[in-house]
Symmetry: C2
Subunit: 468 residues, 2 copies
């Protein structure tokens, strides 16, 4: 289950061959950065156990370089914090600068930070962002936009929005009404990117301060805008393309049996009175099954194969492509292990595809990393304390997932009592397809990735440019 | 705080110089394997944040090789399980064979498995085991002994014992009464090891089936037995030494303020009625402080420096040394982050010392790894959902630890409701001081470490010996 499906290989082969045939052109340099959102070592192992088996190996396990990345976060006043979100982490990767939770391409003083994708565009490279979230979500946004809060996705949200009745941060100073660069979708629309694939259709119909729908702003700035994945087969490679295939985030591939997620352990009344009394009933074992809502959602690997074709065709200048498997994290927030595992399978397919591309294009650096650690933990099944004569169970939510090799993997979510789990603070893994890059060290800070990508793409960093 | 204390360096330097002076002897090969029990990426990061700061680096972060190791566990019937204990993991490392939870040097059919340390002794190398646990605990035991259960530490326990009134597994077939090899301490006493340092004095006074105290069994088999750390200064290097410096496990270096560990969040009665009502009061911030019980306990680095001197002096044949920082795990079970962090500091000092030794002895492979992942998770402080108008808190135990850089690191323990947390199932990190070993791959199975060590020490593996 870890290899790329036949239908995708068949789909991809013509473009690979076509690109290989033009081998007498100058050899461009390209970076494919795959971000598994929340893809820490617990989630990597959860994916391996399910998709390859306890003793199996994932495609990413075969990569010749593996290291760890320390995640850094600042409080708004500049104090170190030990747990991040996807906004400040993607900003660190994209800009080389640490910032605070929720910030997109801005530092803690609200200064706009130049991003690696902007540098690439300036240098004449093509840029693509592909994600299973809304294209306006924190990870893709941080590579091409600058706002003080990740909530400012559209011209409506930038002036203030609510979530379950709770006011969300706005970014009035970034609004076009106030001579700012506009919301995330507006900034993406004028970014000069060559490919933007993900969700986020709902933002296309929002109206800018100039009274124009976002869709027309994007089209006026050179994008062909598509919302139907069938149109992916009819692209012209020399035109910028914005493909948004869901209203917000894309549906995930898998779910638990009949939509089940992790559940609280049921206990008898006696156990509520005392931990030493009564009985506890663990949640029933569940399987992973296809998510009926997935429907015609394009697979991440399909979007990536199309993006690679768009970015590499007739392009002697190279490209930077960021691909995000966003819902490892989103489904971990929701305590849905099957949702995360299906998304890890999507990441694995995308990696296999990227490695096939790299094998045809010598100057390709493929990196896989996570932005931050997440809530899920694999627990013993049964508990190592099951012989004790008192009920032993997780105080949080537990899912007992039947794996294809016939065992039960127990996944625990117990970081808070709310409707959405917390991120966690471990360093995250980093994998790469090459060992010849001195800038790739076994241990790095997350912000160092900016320099790794800039070095490989021969882009000078801002401080180096100043010295010229 | 990550460098080795001056007193230890001063202590070590004479022996290093002395060894360096004998450079015209044939150059032996040696492996120092440092196992951080439960030292997964959450714990590594917890140690880094506290000891070096969010943007700091640990000594282990500077090692040129970093990879990941998949932990494998079998049920007694041979089915894959996704969470291990220290017995089956140390057995996998020591023997190259997967086994079930609780087993020491035996496979799931109770067959004794030859260990890397036994191979080394057979080949004329010296062997040392150093730990902050009892020397009979699962990790050291798995390198030199063979019993069906980790509980069978002494001649009393092998026939059956109780823990909080609950009967523990016995190993009657391994007892000397039944012509077995005896308990763990008995097998260690006849193992031929050159150095055994840790805790476990209580087992010395137990009486074997032959009516002899274990201490005299050990002495009769060539060990000088010491129980006072001051005697570490008076060792003869050509005599085997068993140094046990506490009745059971060694005391840890640090504790939380006035002995505090992670605590449950206090909530008002309204919140007990409904998650949406009432108030929650997070545990107060704590500091880490010296543990008054540590007293004259020898530091892990001190024991290791003495062990290195004993193993390397006048020894042209090389050695295998396993050093375990055992209480990262033990304190995580107890929800005591300061206990774990002090133990990580001990591991760091031991690593610095080992690297200094390796820089003087070219043929030294230093490996740091963990045996399995553990319960602790670093959570956001404050919660990323703190603005929500309902009390948000962990359902488990939380410690809010003030770090030297002035921030608060929130550590969560929420794997069960009992008195001891569960292990978790992530792959674990592996670090090494050399990149020239082909057998060290970026991704390995834990049992592959057996081959890595055997290769480096030029010991043939059992299957290779059969082919000769």
């Amino acid at each position: 289950m870890t290899t790329i499906p036949r239908y995708l290989l068949a789909l991809l082969m013509p473009s690979l061959l076509c690109i290989a045939a033009s081998a007498d052109m100058p050899s461009p340099r390209q970076v494919i950065l795959i971000i598994g959102d929340g893809f820490d070592d617990q989630h990597v192992t959860m994916g391996r156990n399910y998709l390859a088996g306890m003793s199996g190996t994932l495609t990413l396990d075969g990569l010749p370089f593996r290291g760890a990345v320390q995640v850094e976060t600042l409080s708004p006043s500049g104090q170190p914090l030990y747990v991040a979100d996807s906004a400040n982490t993607a900003t660190a990767i994209a800009t080389g600068t640490i910032t605070s939770v929720g910030r997109i391409g801005t530092d803690i003083t609200d200064r706009d930070l130049p991003t690696i994708a902007e540098r690439a565009i300036e240098a004449g490279l093509r840029v693509g962002l592909v994600t299973t979230s809304s294209i306006t979500d924190a990870t893709p946004a941080s590579f091409l936009t600058h706002v003080s809060s990740r909530n400012c996705e559209g011209p409506e949200e930038i002036l203030g929005s609510t979530y379950y009745g709770l006011p969300q941060p706005a970014c009035p100073q970034d609004a076009r009404q106030n001579d700012g660069p506009g919301s995330i979708i507006e900034q993406l629309s004028v970014s000069g990117a060559h490919v933007l694939f993900g969700g986020g259709q709902k933002f296309l119909e929002q109206i800018t301060a100039a009274g124009e729908p976002v869709r027309s702003l994007a089209e006026r700035n050179g994008f062909r805008v598509i919302t139907d994945s069938e149109e992916l087969d009819k692209l012209q490679t020399d035109q910028a393309i914005m493909g948004l295939f869901a209203s917000e985030n894309l549906a995930v591939r898998w779910r638990g049996t009949e939509g089940r997620i992790a559940e609280l352990t049921e206990t008898t009344w006696l156990n509520i009175l005392s931990d030493y009394l009564g009985e506890a009933k663990q949640p029933e074992v569940m399987a992973c099954e296809p998510n009926p809502e997935f429907g015609t959602t394009p697979a991440l690997a399909l979007m990536t194969s199309k993006a690679l074709h768009q970015l590499s065709s007739n392009n002697p200048s190279g490209f930077f492509l960021m691909v995000e498997s966003a819902s490892i994290d989103k489904q971990s927030h929701k305590r849905n292990p099957c949702g995360s595992i299906g998304e890890i399978e999507q990441l694995e397919e995308t990696l296999a595809l990227s490695l096939a591309f790299a094998s045809q294009h010598g100057n390709t650096l493929v990196i896989v990393t996570a932005d931050h650690a997440q809530a899920a933990q694999i627990l013993p099944e049964p508990s190592h304390y099951e012989d004790y004569p008192v009920p032993i169970y997780s105080p949080g939510h537990t899912a007992r997932v039947k794996t294809p090799e016939g065992s039960v993997m127990r996944v625990n979510y117990a970081t808070n009592n709310g409707f959405s789990e917390e991120h966690t603070g471990a360093n995250v893994p980093l994998f790469a397809n090459r060992t010849d890059q001195d800038s790739l060290a076994p241990f790095m800070k997350q912000r160092d990735l900016y320099g790794v990508i800039a070095d490989f793409l021969l882009l000078k960093r801002p401080d180096e440019r100043l010295r010229d």
